[in-house]
Structures are given as C-alpha cells and as structure tokens.
C-alpha cells in the first residue's frame, strides 16, 4: 500500500477515505480535520485560555497534543476517580505526558477532595458506575474551568463516541439529549464553553496518532466500563462501518448538518430553568431540590461504606440486567 499523497510506503489504511497514508501525511490529515472542526464550529479563538480534560487515555492525550501542535495555549485537568490501580496508572500517563512536554496539568482527587470514589458512589446511589463517573467529571470540569478562569473546556470525544451516543439517543428518540448533542456548548449560566475538536476523527485514527507520535497512554479499558451500553453501540456501528466505510461520519456529521438545526428550539428550552446550587453555587436545573446532582451524590456517597472495584466485576448476566434497567430508566425519564 502506498501513501495517497507522496506514494511512499503507507503505515495505515483508512477505508472511509478510500486511501492509505504514510506517517507524515496521516498526521497532516489529523491536523487538518481537527482545524476544520475548530473553524467550522467556532470552537476556540487564538487567544482563548484552554483547559483539556485528560484521562490518560489516547483521545484526551491526542487532543491535547494536537492543540499544542496547532499553536493553542492549553493546560490539562486530570481527575482521580478512585478506581483502584486503573486510576493510579492512568494518572501516571497523564503526568508523564505533561512533564515530558513542559505542560501544566491540574490534578483533582475525588476521594481526597470530595470524600468518595466511583465504586462507592455507584453503590450508594444505585447508578451504574459510568453514570456516577460522568456526572462527577462534568461537575469538576466545570468547577475548575470556572475557578481558574479558562475560556474553553476541551474533551477528547471522537467520531466513534459521538456516533455511539447519537445511536443510543435515536434508538430511544430522546429529543432532549439529541438537541444537546452538539460539538460546542456555549458558555451559559456558570457553565464554561465546552468543545469537542476530535469529532471528525475516529478512535482508530487517534490511537494511530498516539503510536506515531510516541505518546504512551493507558490501553487497558476501565474495569467498570466493560460491557456498557456505549461499547455495544460502538460494536454495532463498527460492524456497519466495515461493510460500508464512511457510515459513522455520514451518520453523525449528517446529523449535525441536517437534523440538529431542526432541534434548536428544544435545545433552547432546556436552558431556561437553571439556577445556582444552594451548596456549591454550580448551575442546576433540578425542579425538586435546591442542591445540584453532584452535591446530592457527594452527600450519599461520602456517608456510604467504601466499596472496592472488585464488587463491580460481575458476570455478564448481571451486567445485562443492569443495562436493561438503566435503559428503561432513561426511556421513562
């Protein structure tokens, strides 16, 4: 296989582009796709202070690397979630990346600063771990961005992530979530601007970026995420992609171009009821509580006996039951 651009030996084949690339021209493609996403959706201005949410995985380290490579001024934020050895290892990858490049990394520890970890939060609240984790991360991202005066919060969500979430939202015809599934959420009511510069690049491409650039990242999957709903959606989409290359890009980018504009009024309606949490001051849309969901999660989790990660390493049948219950809960909410 030869590189489409220079005809030298290719190191990767990209069926969705019907092309193969050498390392140099593959990186050129990644830079171009990232710049196009940033420009098309007005994600980041040249003088913005940027905070990148970093997990130690390939996508967050790749987007941080790409932003620095493209000339943006970007710091990182790592959140220790208390997921046993997995959290310790992922933190080392994030810290090593930052120190090797002289970049600034904020580190927040959920157990040390909020008194609980994700396994305990999941048990205490009856949520699946990914739900408790996502809520905690979003709250801390917002808080650090607000407190430290960052203009933009960047996450490493890629095309596969967005296509999988879209797939799930469409399966349930969840119009509220569909209306909010945009690559840019503007700053509003105490929330920072949030952007996803990797929406035009796949997970496979981001892993390739890291390998080519010599970025060490945590390859192991989070032990609490195994078998979750999004992984099933990704498997389904990748099966389609193999038979019909370009399906994922067409599905998600087509949604942004042709469907999202029709949902604008639904998205606007969702922002009208926000007010400050009575405990932490973060914006909250709860109709029944004065405090935000994260403060309620903190209260219940910190009062619960500690739960080990191993408590969640369950048999497939148990996982399927929980996923079915979670889907039913989301469908009825």
């Amino acid at each position: 296989m030869k590189c489409r651009t220079c005809r030298g030996p290719a190191i990767i084949d990209l069926p969705r582009h019907n092309a193969n690339f050498c390392a140099e021209h593959f990186m050129q493609l990644c830079r171009r796709q990232t710049s196009k996403a940033i420009d098309d959706f007005d994600m980041i201005a040249r003088d913005d202070r940027v905070l990148v949410a970093v997990s130690g995985g390939k996508d967050s380290l790749a987007v941080w690397d790409l932003l620095i490579d493209l000339g943006f001024d970007a710091d990182g934020l790592y959140i220790g979630l208390g997921i046993g050895e997995y959290s310790e290892t992922s933190r080392r990858y994030a810290e090593d990346f930052a120190s090797a490049r002289g970049l600034h990394l904020h580190v927040v520890s959920l157990p040390q600063e909020h008194g609980f970890d994700i396994p305990t939060a999941a048990k205490a609240t009856g949520r699946v771990p990914c739900s408790a984790c996502g809520m905690s991360k979003r709250h801390i991202f917002d808080q650090v961005a607000r407190d430290e005066g960052y203009d933009v919060l960047v996450t490493g969500h890629n095309l596969d992530d967005e296509a999988a979430v879209l797939y799930g939202n469409v399966l349930r015809w969840d119009t509220d979530y569909l209306a909010r599934q945009l690559p840019v959420l503007p700053a509003r009511n105490g929330f920072p601007k949030k952007v996803k510069p990797l929406i035009r690049l796949t997970e496979r491409e981001m892993a390739a970026w890291c390998i080519i650039r010599g970025i060490d990242y945590i390859v192991e999957e989070c032990p609490l995420a195994a078998g979750n709903r999004h992984l099933n959606y990704k498997d389904a989409l990748n099966a389609m992609e193999e038979k019909s290359p370009g399906s994922k890009a067409s599905f998600y980018l087509g949604f942004l171009e042709r469907m999202a504009p029709l949902l604008e009024s639904t998205a606007r309606a969702g922002t009208e009821t926000l007010r400050p949490c009575s405990r932490c001051g973060a914006p909250t849309g709860s109709a029944t509580d004065d405090s935000c969901a994260f403060c309620r999660l903190t209260e219940r989790s910190s009062a619960h006996a500690p739960v080990a990660v191993e408590a969640f390493l369950k048999k497939p049948r148990q996982r399927r039951r929980e996923q079915a219950a979670e889907s039913a809960e989301q469908a009825s909410s």
């Binding site: 996502g134 390998i211 498997d235 990748n238």
Partner: protein
C-alpha cells in the same frame, strides 16, 4: 496462502532425504486482556485479523513498534501487537 516453507539446507552431494517441512509461526500479542497467540504460517494483517475474528475498524496492528497497513505481510521474526482502540464510558 503459504502456510509452510521447505528446508533449503540439504547438501547437494548427498542423496536426497525425504523433504523435511518447517512450520513457520508468528507470535502475536493481544491486549484487553493481555495474551499471546501463535499463528502457524505467514499472514497479511487483514487475514490475521479475520482469522482472530477481530474488527479492522477497532484494532491496529503494530509490527516491531511501527504501525502497518492491512496488506503488510507478517513474518516469523516480527514482534506483533494487536491493539484494540475502542474505549467505553460516557
């Protein structure tokens, strides 16, 4: 596909012996969970993934530390890693 290669070291001055066949095997490291498999015979990357029932869309193949495309042939001395690229969570 060539699954075996013949031994070429026979002395021409000696009466031919029955042909001895050497099985070529390629050692492959997989992740999540970490394990090693040995594949008999040379393979191209796409054929290897198909044989292991792994999606091309969700895996990369690294030979001796360098990415290789689908048509690359993997040899007996190569160090092969098949790396999954899918991550979960919300």
């Amino acid at each position: 596909m060539d699954h075996r290669r013949e031994d070429q070291d026979a002395d021409p001055g000696v009466a031919p012996q029955p042909t001895r066949e050497v099985v070529v095997s390629v050692k492959v490291v997989l992740r999540n969970p970490h394990r090693e498999v040995t594949i008999d015979g040379r393979r191209r990357v796409h054929a290897l993934l198909a044989e292991l029932q792994l999606s091309r869309e969700s895996h990369l193949v690294i030979r001796n530390g360098t990415l290789v495309p689908g048509d690359a042939e993997l040899d007996v001395d190569d160090v092969i890693e098949i790396r999954p690229v899918i991550s979960g969570g919300s």
